[in-house]
Structure formats: structure tokens, C-alpha cells
């Protein structure tokens, strides 16, 4: 692993060569974890044994910009990110992937990006692909297009994964993983937009994505946004499934930020779940009911550094029972130095005959600028018993120590009592090494 000094030296030398300073943002993490869940539910009445997991994970991230080409200063930027992991459960093969690897040339109104990148098309909301994207901006108008081969999510394939209790953790066994078949999995799309500062903007986009069977998504989407006055933001978007000639989703919202100590938001959304499935799914043709949701959120900043948040939404399903969600949260930071954070919330979810009520209490204390402890607990009470049990209780304690700005360690313990295990303990040890703590490479 290169030292921090080496990265800085690299940055300085690159800066010296460029007319406009080249900048580099690098980050690497090493994580050694020890993780074990005591009990794991299997089939009814069966407890699956769960061995201790000791995954060793490393991530790398590099982003640069302001690089020159001959005769074209300050035109090239790029980003590379990858992860790798070895551990007893992974056998000798280990695992890893390149998540990002692109270079962009930008000159005047034109831009071209080549490599592994992401796009946010119509109803398929976040797609990673290997290919090319390009665009241009002329005055208030943008035009972008992209094409490439889909980088499949690992989750697309059955893989013998074990999901660990509360956290959705999945440590996969590569011996059970099938080879990924990317044949025929490609996408193409375009977007035309217009933007007049914050006053108004809008766009029209088309996205087509194929999987190994055929056309999975063929979507036309439109979005508009406006900030007519300083204290209000408005927006709307809709996605229309061309294959089924129906709207897969739509959303309208308004944010009000005019008060100094309060923000409010109103949001309406519509979704047709069957149209969010790939159209190569035979059940997409079964056409499940659509649902509508009207929600609102209000956050009030009171004196004494107390923030109250209320959030609620009501749902109506075509021909079925109504539903609803609500949450009230209080966040208190008693001191100006933000040593303490105390948080309490109550939530309620209703969905016909089932639902739950949640109570949560948590606190975080920064003992020093380098040592932070946190306690978090939550109680769920279910309207109808699950496996004969009506509640689940979780408590999490963690302590993080930033030994140096580039080396952090954390210990965490989770205690649980759930419908699936009368008593359950999880332990987590984490060690993180970072080259650049302020990097934009995301937190581990």
C-alpha cells in the first residue's frame, strides 16, 4: 500500500506539470472483521449453524481531474474504485470487483466518458455498465446519450448466500456462485434536458435495457423541477413503460424551506410494481395493482439544539386495503461542541391486518475527538404474532477509536431477541486504514 506521503508527492508533481493544477483524491481502506451470529433460523424449527466469519476486505479509490492533453489543457478527469476480499468462508479464491473505472474528456460544451460507469435511467433506477456516454451543453440545453454492456449485480444470481439476521449481511460462498453470463445484456439510452438555473428545469429521457431473454425495460421518462421562489422547491417525474403502455411510477413533491427553523415537504407517489419488474419476468404480465401514497414531512429546529421530525404517509392500493406509515423523531445535541447526540423515535406501520409499532432510543457520545461510543436500541411490537412471537428487541453498542486520522478501529456488539431467535448475539470488530480521511470516496 503506498504511503500518504507518496500520494501527496504524486499530487504535487502532477500539479507542477499542468497549466491548471491537476488534483488527485485517493483513498484506500483495509478492513479486518470478525463477525459471528449465534443463531440463524433455517426451515421451520431448524437452527442453521453459523461459523465465525473473518473477512478481510480492502478497497481502493482514486479520482483525478484537471489533467491535460496536448493542446487541450484541463480536459481529462477520471475515477477508479475496486474492492477485494479474502476470508475463511471465501476459500482460497477470494472475491472482488471493479466498481468504477472511467475517464472523461471534457472540452467546451462536449464531454465523453468511457469505461465502467453508472446511469440513472427511467424505471431501472441505478444501472452500472461498461460502455461509453457522451453529451453536450449548449446554453440552457443538455443532450446526453449512453450505450454499453450491463455490469450485472452479484445479487442477480442465486449464490447460496446466508443472510445474517438483522443486517442483511451476505457472505457468499464462491463455490456456489454461478458464472455470470453477460451475453445479450446491454443498454442504450438518451436524455434531453433544459435548465434555467434554479428557476426551472426539465428533461425527457429514453432507456432500453436487454437481459439474456429479451427486452427487460423500455421506458420513456420525464421530469421537471422548479424553484419559483427562494423558499419553495417543486418537482415531478413520471416513467412510462413503452411495452405495457402504462406508467410504472410517478412522483410529485413540494419542499418548503422558507422558515429559518423549519422545513416541510409534501410528496405524492404512484407505483405499479409489476412494471418495475423486468418485462422478461413472466409475472410482469400478471399486472399487480398499483398503489398511491401521499406523504408529508416536517422538521422543526427548536431552541436547546433540539430537532423534531414528523413524517407520515397514507397509501391506497387498487382494490385492496389501505396502508400507512408514520414516524416522530426527536434529536437532541445538548452541547455546542456536539459531544452528545441523543435520539428517540416512535414509528408506526400499517398494512391491512399486519403492522408494527417501533420505539427507538439511541445516544452517541464523543468522549474525545478520537473516541466515540454509541448505544442504540429498538423495540418492535407486531400487530399479529410472527412465529408466535409479538415483539423483537435489539440493542447495539459500539465504540470507535480514530487512533490516527488514517487508522480507525471499532468494536460493536448486538444483542437481539426476535421471533426467530429467543436470544442472539453478534460481535463485530473493524479496523480501517485510510489514506485520505476527507476523501470523497465514500465511507466504508
Amino acid at each position: 500500500m503506498p504511503s500518504k506521503g507518496a500520494v501527496v508527492a504524486c499530487l504535487m508533481s502532477a500539479s507542477a506539470l499542468a497549466d491548471v493544477p491537476t488534483w488527485v483524491d485517493a483513498r484506500a481502506t483495509l478492513q479486518a472483521q470478525a463477525f459471528q451470529q449465534a443463531l440463524l433460523p433455517g426451515g421451520p424449527g431448524v437452527v442453521a449453524p453459523m461459523p465465525l466469519a473473518l473477512p478481510f476486505t480492502t478497497t481502493g479509490f482514486l479520482r483525478f481531474g484537471g489533467m491535460d492533453l496536448p493542446g487541450a489543457p484541463d480536459t481529462v478527469s477520471g475515477e477508479v474504485a475496486a474492492w477485494g476480499r479474502v476470508g475463511p468462508r471465501d476459500g482460497l479464491l477470494g472475491d472482488g470487483d471493479v466498481t468504477t473505472a472511467w475517464a472523461q474528456y471534457r472540452s467546451g460544451p462536449w464531454r465523453v466518458k468511457l469505461g465502467r460507469q453508472v446511469t440513472w435511467p427511467g424505471s431501472a433506477r441505478y444501472v452500472r455498465f461498461d460502455g461509453v456516454s457522451g453529451g453536450a451543453t449548449f446554453g440552457h440545453f443538455d443532450l446526453d446519450a449512453y450505450a454499453g454492456f450491463v455490469a450485472l449485480p452479484r445479487w442477480t444470481l442465486p449464490r447460496g448466500a446466508w443472510v445474517l439476521g438483522s443486517i442483511g449481511e451476505a457472505l457468499e460462498d464462491p463455490r456456489l456462485r454461478e458464472a455470470q453470463n453477460r451475453a445479450g445484456q446491454f443498454l442504450v439510452g438518451a436524455r434531453a434536458g433544459v435548465r434555467y438555473g434554479q428557476t426551472i428545469r426539465g428533461s425527457l429521457a429514453f432507456h432500453e435495457q436487454h437481459d439474456d431473454i429479451g427486452v427487460a425495460y423500455r421506458v420513456v421518462s420525464a421530469d421537471v423541477g422548479s424553484q419559483p421562489v427562494d423558499w419553495m422547491g417543486l418537482g415531478a417525474r413520471a416513467a412510462f413503460d413503452v411495452n405495457s403502455l402504462g406508467f410504472s411510477e410517478a412522483r410529485v413533491w413540494a419542499d418548503v424551506t422558507g422558515w429559518r427553523f423549519a422545513t416541510a415537504s409534501v410528496d405524492y407517489s404512484y407505483q405499479s410494481p409489476s412494471l418495475l419488474l423486468p418485462q422478461t419476468s413472466i409475472l410482469a404480465a400478471f399486472g399487480g395493482a398499483s398503489w398511491h401514497e401521499l406523504g408529508a414531512e416536517l422538521t422543526v429546529q427548536l431552541p436547546w439544539r433540539l430537532t423534531l421530525t414528523g413524517r407520515g404517509a397514507g397509501q391506497v392500493y387498487d382494490g385492496d386495503r389501505p396502508g400507512g406509515r408514520g414516524l416522530a423523531r426527536a434529536k437532541w445535541i445538548p452541547d455546542v461542541d456536539e459531544r452528545w447526540l441523543v435520539q428517540a423515535e416512535v414509528a408506526r406501520v400499517m398494512m391491512g391486518t399486519q403492522g408494527y409499532t417501533q420505539g427507538r432510543l439511541g445516544a452517541r457520545y464523543r468522549a474525545t475527538s478520537t473516541i466515540t461510543g454509541a448505544l442504540d436500541s429498538s423495540l418492535y411490537v407486531y400487530d399479529a404474532p410472527i412465529h408466535g412471537v409479538s415483539s423483537s428487541l435489539t440493542g447495539i453498542a459500539s465504540c470507535e477509536w480514530a487512533i490516527t486520522p488514517w487508522l480507525r478501529t471499532m468494536l460493536s456488539t448486538t444483542l437481539m431477541s426476535t421471533p426467530y431467535a429467543a436470544f442472539e448475539v453478534q460481535g463485530l470488530g473493524r479496523l480501517v486504514v485510510e489514506l485520505e480521511p476527507n476523501s470523497t470516496g465514500g465511507r466504508p
Binding site: Q271, G288, T370, Y380, R443
Partner: protein, 350 residues
């Protein structure tokens, strides 16, 4: 000394060694607004400049006071200084170290040389205004519309600070931001790239690797995480509460991968069914509730029952089957009946 006491001592020493301090403890209000001053036999009243003005021969030299500023009043100045100013106070909070000229601002008629017009927290009470003004204070006079449109922040901010700043004053990341952040990213990716990298998005949206325990960040209790606490019990309820939401991130076959491993999937031989008896048989019986459930959340059905023409749904719902048409009223499709999905049911009618 017992082992436990030694352990506690070692921990205490460790914490002390690591302590770097957080923010100032200096009682600004007491010095600026509560001292009896200016009268006969009293000392002159203090202003901000009494302590914060540095080299008067240079312009805009506003600095952190040193211990010498305390000497004229406090005999135990060293101790007072040490108690009131923590070592790390010389480092301003991220983003507060902007390129800013105090002198011309103080000369403006609306400010009249009063620092507290912006630094109201200096004479405020605990929990009141912040010591350093929020960006909204700047924006009350400076519109910066052009800079916002272009995503140019370095006229005021240091580029290195931008990595840790939240644009709270002009682009709010609260008020349902999580619901619409994808929309904003589509509309103005260059704006996001001002502060964020693609890898920042991947810290939540990366589907090339399974979510690790560390990514849960149990220490970050104020971070909104969908899968926090007893998610295993709740996951089916949450999927029912907002149908279709799971497929935002998850592929439908991911569900079955886990269900197979746990023996709660029809894909696994000998597995016990999760549906009640007569769930999908006995036409007209109350227990035959699969149609209603499917109407409500067909994406959940697809999690297990989507094997194309081999799906057991097709067995009854194909043309001529006992299950009748599964298409809802008004169903339309531009796909030809000869394609793979349509012909699974309509094959016999071609």
C-alpha cells in the same frame, strides 16, 4: 492495585492521551455583554477587536487570541487561557475557513462595525445562534446565482473543505431529500460531482458486493438505514408495505437464493411451504388468497415464482387453464404473442 483498577487506569490514560479537544469554551457573552465596564473606576469595555485584532499594520488581520490578551485583566492568565480555549480551537470547523475580508464588511453601514451582526453566537446563550454564521447569512446579501448554476464554489470555499461540506443553505439535503436525490442527480450530475464521486453513490448503491457489517455503521445512529435492527423479521412486512420498493436495489432472484438456503422456497426439494393450505387451490374458498396477494405485490411473488414458462403460475393461468386470465383490466402490451414471455401462456393459441 487490582488488575481491574490497572485496566481502568490504562483506559483513562489512553483516553487522555487521545483527547484533542473539540471547540472553544471561552465565555464570549460574559466578556462582551455582562462585564461592568466603561464607568468611573472601571476598565474600558471590551469589543471583539480587543482580543481578535492582530497586526494592526496589516489589513484584515483577525486572529485567534493568544494568552497575552488575558494578561491585562487576569492575574492567572495562563490558567484562564488554558481553561477557556481548547488546543484544537485554532482549527476552524470545516467550511468556516472561507476566503473572506472582514474589513470591508465591518465598514458597511448595515453592519456598522459590529461583529455580532454575523457572529451572534458570541453573545448568545447556549443552544442559540452559532458562533460562526451559517452560509445563509452570506446569501442574505450575496445571491451567487451564477456560481450556483455553474457549480463553482471555490470563490469562497477552499477546495479541500468542499469534501466535507453540506450545501445546507442553498441546496437542502433534508426535507425528503432521500426520496428525490436520484431525481436531482439525473437533472444535474455535474452539480453532484462538485462534492461527490461515483464511489460516494456506490457506498449505498453498489450491487457488485454484498453489504458488509461495517457498512451498517452501527456507530452512525443518526444515519438513515433501511435495514437497521431486526430486518430479518420485518423484511416481508416492509415489502408488503411498499410493494416494488425492494426491486429498486434488489434483483428478484436474490430473494430465492436466501429462501432456498433456508428451506423456505419451492425451489428446494422437500421444503415446507410458506403459504397456508389451499393458498392457490380450491376456487372460491376464503383461504385461496393468492390472487389478492398477487394483486397487491406481484414483485414478492416474482421473488420465488418466476422461472419463465416453468413457473407454476403458468400451469393454471395459461390460455385454457383453470385459473383464468391474470391480466388486470385494461392490460395492454406492445409485445408480440410470439415472444418468450407471452408464448408461455399463449403458445397454444398461436
Amino acid at each position: 492495585m487490582t488488575k481491574r483498577a490497572m485496566l481502568l487506569l490504562a483506559v483513562a490514560l489512553l483516553i487522555s492521551a487521545c483527547a484533542r479537544g473539540l471547540l472553544t469554551r471561552f465565555p464570549h457573552r460574559q466578556h462582551l455583554a455582562e462585564l461592568e465596564c466603561g464607568g468611573a473606576g472601571q476598565k474600558a469595555c471590551l469589543s471583539c477587536a480587543s482580543c481578535h485584532q492582530g497586526d494592526e499594520t496589516k489589513k484584515d488581520q483577525w486572529k485567534q487570541p493568544q494568552v497575552t490578551a488575558c494578561v491585562s485583566c487576569h492575574k492567572d492568565s495562563n490558567e484562564v487561557y488554558a481553561n477557556s480555549i481548547r488546543p484544537a480551537v485554532a482549527t476552524l470547523p470545516a467550511g468556516k475557513s472561507i476566503q473572506f475580508k472582514h474589513d470591508p464588511h465591518l465598514k458597511m453601514p448595515t453592519i456598522k462595525g459590529q461583529c455580532v451582526n454575523c457572529h451572534a453566537g458570541a453573545v448568545g446563550v447556549a443552544g442559540g445562534d452559532p458562533l460562526f454564521p451559517p452560509m445563509a447569512t452570506c446569501l442574505s446579501c450575496h445571491e451567487h446565482k451564477k456560481q450556483f448554476d455553474e457549480g463553482t464554489c471555490t470563490n469562497c470555499h477552499k477546495e479541500t473543505d468542499l469534501k466535507t461540506l453540506m450545501p445546507a443553505s442553498f441546496l437542502r439535503h433534508d426535507a425528503a431529500w432521500m426520496k428525490r436525490h436520484g431525481q436531482e442527480a439525473r437533472a444535474n450530475p455535474a452539480g453532484c460531482e462538485t462534492c461527490h464521486s461515483q464511489t460516494t453513490c456506490d457506498s449505498c448503491h453498489d450491487t457488485t458486493r454484498p453489504s458488509s457489517p461495517a457498512q451498517r455503521n452501527p456507530e452512525a445512529i443518526d444515519r438513515e438505514l433501511v435495514h437497521r435492527f431486526d430486518w430479518l423479521t420485518r423484511h416481508a412486512l416492509e415489502a408488503d408495505s411498499q410493494p416494488g420498493s425492494c426491486v429498486t436495489c434488489h434483483a428478484k432472484t436474490e430473494c430465492d437464493a436466501c429462501h432456498v438456503a433456508r428451506g423456505v422456497s419451492p425451489s428446494r426439494a422437500g421444503a415446507e411451504g410458506i403459504h397456508p393450505a389451499q393458498w392457490a387451490s380450491g376456487l372460491g374458498l376464503a383461504r385461496n388468497g393468492h390472487g389478492l396477494a398477487a394483486r397487491r405485490n406481484i414483485a414478492s411473488c416474482a421473488a420465488c415464482h418466476d422461472q419463465g414458462a416453468a413457473s407454476n403460475c403458468v400451469r393454471c393461468h395459461k390460455v385454457g387453464g383453470t385459473g383464468g386470465t391474470p391480466h388486470p383490466a385494461g392490460w395492454r402490451s406492445t409485445a408480440p404473442l410470439s415472444n418468450a414471455e407471452c408464448s408461455a401462456c399463449h403458445g397454444g393459441s398461436l
